[in-house]
Symmetry: C2
Subunit: 254 residues, 2 copies
């Protein structure tokens, strides 16, 4: 088969955070496949290029469509936000490969990494991911809530910084509040919590709280939530939001 | 103070993975500060630009130098590899701010995110980070080995995918072997392990093993090690390395 399929991550929002490797892959594609909101972020190509837009939440169908196009000889790019390998399209693509046509395994499939949302969110406030950290999606569409609870507990026991993706949605308004309640059993109420909405865009909004009274209501699907370790600290500044960071070294080993 | 300080991440290696935002910050700087190996990756600037190169392992001294330059009115860029907030210069910078001149808190300090090594490493083999994951540095220069053990154990108990930075060095040749031995107490010997050397460069080398007989000897400071969760799978292919991925959904909840 001569077709080619590349899964790219546009980065978290601003075109300035899209890597040149991704921009080149997009420019060279004959066919773009992706969630309509992400396709709208791709600049028009000077060469004729077909766009196959789909709704959210049809990841495997979208992956199958992309694989079929590649198998037909097209040069296909599947468009994700952030990094394609972190709660995005790359896994869905390989799920489709594994369950699909045996011939799809002979395709030239590549993944082009990108800046995932937690990195941009952290950069807005300082360096909260400076120590060891865990990255957890709070969406229970595809895994049991008990698995999420088990992982939150393990992350707290290990005193990791915690990055939460998909903290809330219209269908799941209570997930983040339940996560905070669970973490409060293990972590100090003084633990720093950072909410970043629209990370990596000019419209990013940050909010800093303490776990003991953090209000989960302000988070939506575009919010990234970072919860500090015992070491995560605030540097106060006059007339500006504090910088939040996790030192590389331990001061008081918990 | 009119000075400005930006900490940037060049990405894991190839210039094609450096974001346009980082390239612009580099081009606009009057002074570049960084480990000599990373400064050598920055293209020469058409305008006169001073380069302040330092050895590895002097992060806080380097950060102080950068802050003093910014306080003197320069437009300073501190150069990191990967993402500056993940086991890199951003934390060292804020450590220096917190312990340093009070006036440094009034500086315009920004962090420009980048593609961190684990994302590029994952992309080379498929989508191993497709589920929840933990990111741990095995370096015990700045934290106790007992903390690392506690975190490895927590990561295993939570059935996270695990990304290990700094798995070994000349001074610490045994860390990775000790980490594997610890994880073997908790995780199946069939757990997939991926070694990626020089991730995000044209010279990247990948090796796939199982935890039960993974050989730690092949890893050095340029190696990123990914250890699967119970869900991480291989898609076999004829005549090519398998793709490794972690499905978004759980098949057998451990």
């Amino acid at each position: 088969m001569s077709g080619k399929l590349t899964v790219v991550g546009l980065g978290p929002g601003s075109a300035e955070l899209t890597t040149p490797a991704v921009s080149r892959a997009l420019a060279e594609a004959t066919d773009l496949v992706g969630y309509v909101t992400y396709l709208d972020r791709v600049p028009p190509s000077p060469v004729g290029q077909r766009r196959h837009a789909s709704d959210n939440r049809v990841e495997v169908e979208r992956a199958r469509e992309a694989l079929a196009l590649a198998a037909a000889g097209k040069s296909v790019v599947v468009v994700s936000s952030g990094d394609p390998g972190v709660f995005a399209m790359a896994s869905a693509l390989f799920e489709a490969v594994e369950a699909g046509e045996p011939s799809w395994r002979a395709l030239d499939i590549r993944i082009e990494p990108g800046v995932t949302a937690m990195l941009a969110a952290a950069a807005h406030v300082g360096a909260p991911l400076g120590g060891d950290f865990c990255t957890i999606s709070l969406s229970d569409n595809l895994k049991a809530w008990s698995t999420i609870e088990r992982r939150l507990e393990a992350a707290a026991q290990g005193d990791f910084v915690i990055a939460l993706y998909n903290p809330a949605s219209v269908a799941r308004p209570d997930q983040l509040g339940r996560a905070f309640a669970l973490l409060q059993r293990w972590k100090s109420p003084d633990t720093l919590v950072v909410f970043v909405k629209a990370a990596g865009t000019p419209n990013a909004e940050t909010r800093i709280a303490r776990l003991g009274d953090a209000d989960a209501a302000g988070a939506d699907m575009r919010t990234l939530v970072l919860i500090g370790s015992s070491q995560t600290r605030a540097i106060e500044r006059s007339g500006a939001a504090p910088w939040i960071y996790t030192p590389r070294s331990e001061r008081d080993i918990a």
